[in-house]
Symmetry: C3
Subunit: 358 residues, 3 copies
């Protein structure tokens, strides 16, 4: 691939020779002729002098004139974010194998007679696929994953090892689900009985996961009581996330690791939640809301586009003001005590005078 | 089933014809003649006019006179909570299949020669059952689940796919364990050595799970160091919960998702913990204690029946008072500053006068 | 084993007969002649009178003179911590079987032709080992565990059932990984696009786990974007822990359950983190830092050996001072209100006088 083509791909500007052939990506200290590399941190600019690479992605912060004499052997591509451009080139030069490399149907897989597995799907060792399942073309179901009766996995979706999908759940196209995640476990619903024990409320709904969703490792997404728990198109969930029954996560919302959304809560589109956030049940979060890590949200957020933070979550400026004030609270106690003494002194010094004046 | 029998079952009062035959449950907009449905939210009462159902569960808030002309085709059953009554009818008309539908012993299962699997138990594909295990009648062990040496699973218990039960653990009757959960992993015990490394403390106890317990997906319940980690009868655990070694959770306690109980802590009967709660190790929680979501409990709670909340957890009224006060803290700082100025002014205005008096 | 040898092993002092033969460990109420037991809590000292054991580990707090008449049948070993010494003896008398008892290669295991599995490794039922993997001597890979292409597991390492190791990850020697844990899932990296959707950033690095690490159940350790996520020698992780991409956990650091470390953060040597702690991304934690349970750390900690606590985390004394102050905050609001009134009264009582003085 010509460097000039790469420059177009990453929307960069060439300083040097655009006609050079690039065959591979590499780290700056390991690169060889024919490789393209990147310099994200100016702290490491010494490597620009020594690298054997043919080209390097740099930001406009790099004083290129310092390296003028290197330009015979080395071309530069100036981009806004060298690291991100480099990551994009990884996918160009080392494309991820389809289905994470899984091919064919492993003879050990147990596929129910009535399951419809596309001829172009890949099924790993020790995969169990229940009656009436549908597995789309290009889908890859890795080792040890279990797909319950009547569940569906769409085109080009990728389920890593040891995922559990319970009966009837529907997974769209180009969905990625990482290892250990459980889709469609029973929602947590128990009705208290007078004797202190609990009666299980049947959980007969399903989970629907729209297209282009990615779900991290060891998440749990509970099936609805009735109806569906819904994960919208393009949603991205990190690891160890809990999604309760009948929750709706709307499209393009991203949630960081170890967060939990309680039953029947609806999170709007394009929201972002930090790690270890908790949302209580039966609330609504307006679209484009941002919620800081470890926050606890106990009531609906109705105005879109705001940033919340804290436990309990408040608008971020308010939480920061409270936090700053908190640091001064111990001193404040002392100040108020001192002030009380001074007022008492003032009161004393006034009272006698008044008496004298009588 | 006659509607009059259903009315008895859900403890409701019939308005209309009790002799009508009911064959199925359905959502109000999808119901057909012979179905019973429900109306939980008065917002949707227009469906009462159009539904094809033969009967509808309603609350006494519904003004039945508005629908008087519908009573030829439609009967009503007035109940305190139509949704809950409907859920109960789901179980009546669509009973969950025993063992979540698993039947027989799958030929791929690996069952150790000395394991005793009841003839009436169901064992899924890729299940491994170790030496000396006992699996009771009616138990269902789903695909990919692993039962370690000498472990026991009681009558009618249901283990979903990809559960791991380690050696020697004892699971009672009618227990439900959701996918990905780990029973009997080693407790977290390491003794520091002078050189900064750690020596593993052997974890040779077990986990005992009493009857009628339900444990959500991807939980971890550690085995005891010696003795047992104990989950009492009727306990209900949500997903992603951590139970440390030698913990005792007493009967009928419920814990919401992502909470953690540290080693050797004892939680009393009939407690309820919200999501993402943390309990420190070696404490005791009195029975019937309620702990709000995301709370952190660092010391024993000795008086039963109280509600705690916050980080650190305090009695809920106290936490709410502090939280309310916190919102006013930034303003308070300003008030105290202003007050200090005013006191200073007062002091100035008094001091000179005193001098003049000399 | 002679009691005198045991005394040397636990660094204890014998009171009684050192020449007695000890054959087993047991709890004090179940012990029989030939057994050694322990008394950790003086509350149970009555058992010293009735036990059938031949020896008992005690602390110097036990008034041995009270049991002088028992010394014919019973010898004492005085140690600083009887419980810990007892745990050590468990390992002496009931050594854990190598590989947690797993032996040989189960015929159901699927091992890729190019994988190198040492003749002395043990591979359980339904284990899948990918192309190019290397499994060292003495390693034990339990039922349902999946090892991705090119991954390595070192000598004497122990992977419990249903672990998932993704392609290319490297696990050292004497590493223990508990059930359900996922090593090498994709890091959580998505670049926002102008239309509100996200583009996946390729995650092509690996996870490297050094020797003598122990990782609890249902943890998730993400692979690096490029390069490696690194778990240093001797690190101990509890259950349900999230380690983000490109994180470094340095040697001998211990982390309690349900904590999370966000991407690219570096935790120094010999740190200890409590449960449910969250560290933000791209920060550094100095060595020997201690962080209390449920703390949230949002910026680097540069000075080694300090203790932090709280949300947001502050040095522990400061957090405790703030917490103590917080309990007094509601009262403070009242005090300031009252003080304001008193100052107003003072101002009133002064102002008129001033006027009069004119």
């Amino acid at each position: 691939m010509k460097l000039s083509d790469i420059a177009k791909l990453v929307d960069g500007e060439i300083v040097g020779e655009g006609n050079v052939d690039i065959r591979q990506v590499a780290k700056i200290e390991e690169a060889r002729p024919g490789d393209i590399t990147f310099l994200a941190n100016l702290k490491y600019k010494k490597y620009v002098v020594t690298t054997l690479a043919s080209a390097v992605l740099v930001s406009k912060e790099l004083p290129l004139q310092e390296f003028a004499q290197r330009r015979k052997a080395l071309s530069f591509v100036v981009v806004p974010d060298p690291y991100r451009s480099f990551l994009r080139l990884i996918d160009t030069f080392q494309p991820a194998p389809a289905g994470a490399g899984l091919k064919g149907i492993h003879p050990s897989a147990v596929i129910a007679p009535s399951a419809l597995v596309d001829a172009d799907a890949a099924i790993g060792a020790f995969v169990a696929i229940g009656e009436g399942c549908r597995i789309g073309p290009g889908a890859a179901i890795h080792e040890g994953t279990v797909i319950g009766e009547g569940a569906e996995v769409g085109e080009d979706s990728l389920l890593y090892p040891n995922v559990s999908v319970r009966e009837g759940c529907r997974i769209g196209s180009r969905v990625v689900i990482h290892s250990g995640t459980v889709i469609g476990s029973d929602g947590f619903g128990f009705a208290p009985k007078p004797d202190g024990t609990y009666e299980k409320i049947p959980q007969r709904g399903i989970v629907v996961i729209e297209d282009d969703v990615e779900i991290g490792a060891n998440c749990t997404i509970d099936r609805a009581t009735i109806g569906e728990t819904h994960i919208g198109k393009g949603v991205k969930l990190d690891n160890l996330i809990q999604i309760g029954h009948n929750v709706v996560i709307s499209e393009n919302t991203v949630i960081a690791a170890q967060s939990g959304v309680s039953g029947s809560t609806k999170v709007g589109k394009n929201c972002s939640l930090g790690g270890q956030v908790g949302l209580t049940g039966h609330i609504q979060i307006a679209e484009q809301t941002k919620i800081g890590a470890q926050s606890g949200v106990g009531k609906s957020i109705t105005e879109p586009g705001k940033t919340y933070f804290g436990y309990p979550a408040r608008e971020v400026r308010e939480t920061l003001r409270i936090e700053a004030a908190l640091a001064r609270l111990p001193a404040l106690l002392g100040q108020v005590r001192e002030l009380t003494n001074r007022v008492q002194e003032l009161e004393k010094s006034l009272r006698p005078r008044k008496i004298r004046k009588k």
